[in-house]
């Protein structure tokens, strides 16, 4: 089992109702982690319902869903950014 720090921002955070949580997982990739999270509860299902409109960062760098997850990684989910 890996320990992963998962973070949520903007409407992902609002839908899940958490800004972050420590997750124990067997997921090898971000995509597998998403499958696990969606299976948990309605609010996760809702937050992850449209993967095309989600962005992922692993250890503070933008990545895609097929990125491998190591033990101790920080994985963040958020909508497309609107800075500037």
């Amino acid at each position: 089992m890996k320990q992963v720090e998962v973070k949520y921002f903007a409407w992902v955070r609002e839908r899940i109702g958490l800004s972050g949580e420590l997750v124990s997982t067997d997921a090898d990739t971000v995509r597998e982690l998403v499958v696990e999270l969606r299976a948990r509860e309605q609010r996760y299902e809702l937050a992850f319902s449209d993967l095309a409109s989600l962005r992922v960062a692993v250890n503070h760098t933008l990545r895609d869903l097929d990125t491998a997850i190591e033990d101790g990684a920080e994985v963040a989910f958020f909508p497309p950014m609107t800075g500037g």
Partner: protein, 149 residues
């Protein structure tokens, strides 16, 4: 190459004066600043900017490094606020110092395009009708693509 991510307000003119040390090899200084805009028909009372503290500065530095290398900038400044902002407030600014004006302009536009959709900020507008997250726009992604030529 100063990068500031801050809740505090700033005055672009003051930052521009501080930024430009008298380098005699610099010929061109460009600045951009983004302002909270409110429409008469659909007034915005407040803009809340959320960011990702562990990642924001790192993401901005990567964008700055690329601009500096690509246009051989003599200096470069990025300031971006988070938290609660109000109409007329300055959201962020960039400044670029280069030998020639083409480089200074291009680098400032590059920085803006990437800060817009590659730095972890999210804007929420508070209006009389309620709150709404600002949607990213298709043309923001398209703007990124023009730099990959």
């Amino acid at each position: 190459m100063r990068v500031e991510v801050q809740a505090e307000p700033f005055v672009p003119g003051e930052q521009l004066s501080k930024f430009h040390a008298d380098r005699i090899d610099a010929g061109a200084l460009v600045s951009f600043s983004g302002i909270v805009r409110s429409d008469k028909l659909d007034p915005v009372n407040m803009l809340e900017i959320e960011h990702y503290p562990g990642m924001t500065e790192r993401a901005i530095r990567a964008i700055v490094d690329e601009a500096v290398e690509r246009w051989q900038l003599i200096d470069c400044l990025v300031i971006h606020r988070h938290g609660q902002l109000f109409p007329g407030d300055h959201i962020m600014m960039v400044a670029t110092l280069a030998r020639h004006r083409g480089a200074a302009f291009a680098a400032a536009e590059f920085l803006m395009d990437f800060l817009k959709s590659r730095a972890p900020f999210w804007k929420k507008e508070f209006t009389a009708q309620g709150q709404r997250w600002v949607d990213s726009r298709q043309e923001d992604e398209a703007a990124i693509d023009r730099w990959s030529g």
